[in-house]
Symmetry: C2
Subunit: 553 residues, 2 copies
């Protein structure tokens, strides 16, 4: 029996950048594409990570046939350790390098023996209930990235994953144009396409252009060379290794995730380092500066990363000397600009020569620009199109671009997380919106930090807190001791003794004549709160959180 | 008598972007150039504004001959209302538009009758003790910007202010090349030059290129057009007015600072709007959408600005309808990207066509790119050079650029806020470093928010606070009531009753056998703090601020 519809339910990555997760439903079968995380923004005070809300799947676990992973970046695999247990560990399918990266993660979370991660290759087929998944190679800023063709009885569903077209990729494996052409010829019912870089005209340059920049920098570097990049950007590491080999430099790796990923990529054959070229970071001082390259983490200015420590003269092993060269081979992720600039400024202060994006050609994007997006749409020629992976404006711009290629307006749908799209032979409709959104990981727990806690953290961060503690007689309701006034993050208490003493007096005054209500502590607390709030705003124009505590003895 | 040295003491703007303030000392004379503010970054929780630390001047007030202002942007004039009173109101010198903008500010702070702001024009001379200041016109993203030539008995000091070279500026007044050439011929002892855009190769385009973009957008806009830009960018407002006139649209202004600045600029003749063209924002619905342009604030996504309210459907008067066009004629200031993107996404959601930097040519910078920096250095040919206005890396890059133009390395000094540079006939040296840095304005008070308060706000913002309140008998030291545990921003208390109850028990246990120390409350508090901190980290991996309060009765 063929069911007459396919449902697409984005749980993450549509209307935002990060935590990508797409649910595809056909009949009784549910197939999930990617389970990513997002890094918290400034408003998510104290949150460590954000994962998709998978509540929609809670009563549908037994229908999940598999999770297909397009590539090994955090925003595509980072949610697995949290969400696999919630979904009773459905089988995961990923290419070899991606599987390696996932295993590193699962190991950290002690989930290796519970999860099943099957290795697939481009061209493989996987039966998933009534559907069949196939995989085609795409280029991205990590090797072994794939797009997905999901054959359903109603028609073919294609998800591009993150991609760009690189005719000369570092690993020598361009996107599979033949497969894409064939899929297009066969017919695509609905296509989901990466929108991340839709605002950029033209083509994203090949990873290979980095070679020339690296070569020029290496040729002129008198001292040590330190290259910071994403730990998952294995192909960039390969480029640095190749250049280092040409200039007869030894190479050391620094940063936990860099060391782990490099080791895994070498074991799996995704990174080739000539024998004897690797030295330990502990040993770099045994070599002349012009014999050494260090590849490390910290291209985003992350506070505890290797490069940030180096820039702060806080690294256990590596010290910058004038004449050293630092290359930041990455672009700041939006929101990280200030931290990255701080790192660069500190490196300049230490006398390093610093090359970074904007000043020098040391990074290219992994996402398709406008002409590549048009190429993908033209190869696949889908009946229906759903832009994915992007903020709302980017989804709309991608939709307009598809429209400019003659896909009819009614066949294109801009959807956001939680929208349920229904695809039939006849059309594509947004039929429902379910609860979706952010689940916060903070410390050990997942999901217990919600809007109330975050709102409180925001208030606390703005003007601090002021507590008034009062002890009253249980019988008479009369104040026995206090109010004691304590504040944090509001004013420096030693400087503000007079202000706080006046506040104390105000509270006492406000309590006079309250005997009638003596045991109605909620009323008393409200009174204290109101009095203090008004008084402090008048005196300081600040609004600290005010917390009255009444103790009965 | 000529004294043999000039001292340059940057109090703001060197090693950072914002709060520009430069002190020049010759003999007994002190001349100040600009008194700006900086907007707080993410780490300055709850701070409203940041101003320079002027402690260095506290015992030198009577030597201050004047404050020279280069132009009317916040990072050059915004500190005046706070710092003029601290310095006993020395006379201020500014061009006409700049004076107008300063007066608006002083009025808000009720300082109009205390401060003296003298209007000067390019070419004017002002005697300041033994020195004489002259002013030359430069181009910047605000009209009436000047650079300063300060003639001292030892030699000429030049400060460029913020500048670019615009051969076809909107106000028809290009930089005064003649004056610059003549100053160069006469000889410049030391030059201070704007470094903001040193990372950009080539030339900054003329403001005039915006005209073509505006024209194209206006020609195709079917509905209302809303243009958001900086309220001080009077020349951009003029461009919008001119385009609106060409397309026979009425114009309304929205946003308090936009309305104030437009009115002042019109009164002073810096903005020309054809008669009858202005309508009130209240009246825009009386006109056909294609007859209306709104110019408003909010190009930085500021939460309470006009455009942000419009994007949130929260504006009192203006509602977006599909077919409306919005132009963000500004670049996000670093750190504001997320807020700007949020605004753009919301405008897309409302069905507006949105034009913004990156997608469309609707803004140009007001600062000189590399070729213009070289031009300025070549016109002035200074003996000594000090890069100003920029983060550390930008100052170094500007220094390298000057070196590439054959200024000897020893004649160039990269200095940061608080460094004292001494210039003599023979050389330029960094002789001392004084305390400088940030003074925080928070609510009504200036300077009382320091590192301790900010550190507390940071801790509070990450994991919240947990208080344990204990009442003890004054005589015996025995607990009478409590500990009561209250938390905010840590966990949602209703979900965490069990955790907090266990925490309570832990505190009680930890107090057993403490009788010997009964009245040593500091010891008891430390014990409570330590116990809770360990327990909560073990259970949650979070580190809330812990505040024990002991009440004696």
């Amino acid at each position: 029996m063929t069911t007459e519809k396919i449902r697409l339910i984005p749980l993450g990555g549509l209307g935002e950048v990060g935590k990508n997760m797409m649910v595809v439903e056909y009949g009784d079968d549910i197939i999930i594409i990617d389970v990513g995380v997002m890094f918290p923004d400034d408003e998510m005070f104290g949150v460590d990570l954000v994962i998709p809300d998978t509540n929609y799947l809670a009563d549908k676990k037994r229908r999940i046939r598999g999770i297909l992973i397009t590539h090994g970046h955090e925003d595509h695999v980072g949610g697995l350790p949290y969400i696999l247990p919630m979904l009773d560990f459905p089988p995961v399918y990923a290419t070899r390098l991606t599987q390696g990266l996932i295993q590193v993660k699962l190991k950290e979370h002690r989930l290796l023996d519970k999860a099943t991660v099957n290795v697939i290759s481009p061209g493989d087929q996987v039966e998933l209930g009534e559907c069949r998944a196939e995989f085609f190679r795409v280029n991205h800023s990590i090797p072994d990235a794939i797009g997905i063709l999901l054959r359903t009885p109603l028609g073919n569903v294609v998800h591009t994953g993150d991609y760009k077209f690189d005719y000369t990729p570092i690993d020598g494996k361009p996107a599979d144009f033949g497969a894409l052409g064939q899929i297009g010829n066969e017919g695509v019912l609905v296509m989901m396409g990466d929108s991340t870089r839709v605002e950029s005209p033209g083509y994203t340059p090949s990873e290979r252009v980095i070679n020339d920049s690296l070569d020029k920098i290496f040729a002129n570097a008198p001292g040590r060379i330190i290259v910071a990049t994403f730990a998952s950007l294995i192909s960039r590491v390969q480029q640095v290794v190749d250049t280092a080999a040409r200039y007869e430099r030894f190479i050391a790796f620094s940063g936990r995730s860099m060391i782990n990923n490099v080791q895994m990529a070498m074991e799996l054959g995704y990174l080739n380092v000539p024998k004897g070229m690797i030295i330990r970071a502990e040993d770099i001082n045994k070599f002349h500066p012009d014999q050494v390259v260090v590849v490390c983490t910290g291209s985003q200015g992350e506070p505890t990363s290797a490069l940030t420590r180096i820039a702060n003269q806080d690294h256990r092993l590596i010290r910058i000397a004038p004449g050293d060269t630092v290359i930041l081979s990455a672009t700041p992720v939006p929101g990280n600009e200030k931290m990255v600039h701080r790192t660069i400024n500190n490196l300049f202060r230490l006398g390093a020569e610093v090359f970074y994006q904007g000043l020098s050609n040391v990074h290219v994007s992994g996402h398709a620009a406008q002409e590549e997006l048009k190429l993908m749409l033209s190869l696949l020629r889908p009946r229906f199109f759903v832009p994915v992976h992007g903020e709302y404006r980017q989804l709309v711009l991608h939709a307009k671009l598809a429209y400019s290629l003659s896909i009819p307006e009614e066949n294109i749908r801009v959807a956001e997380d939680g929208d349920i799209l229904e695809v039939t032979e006849g059309g594509i409709e947004l039929i429902e919106h379910i609860t979706s959104g952010n689940v916060y990981v903070d410390g050990l727990s997942v999901g217990d930090v919600g809007q109330i806690v975050l709102r409180d953290r925001k208030v606390l961060s703005q003007d601090g807190i002021l507590m008034a503690v009062l002890t009253v007689d249980k019988e008479t309701g009369q104040p026995i001791a206090g109010p004691d006034i304590v504040s944090r993050g509001f004013v420096y208490m030693r400087d503000a003794e007079e202000l706080l003493e006046s506040a104390r007096e105000r509270v006492l005054e406000s309590l006079i004549g309250l005997n009638g209500h003596s045991s109605d502590w909620a009323f008393v607390k409200d009174k204290i709160k109101h009095t203090l709030s008004e008084f402090l705003y008048e005196k300081t124009h600040r609004r600290p959180m005010i917390l009255p505590v009444v103790m009965e003895v």
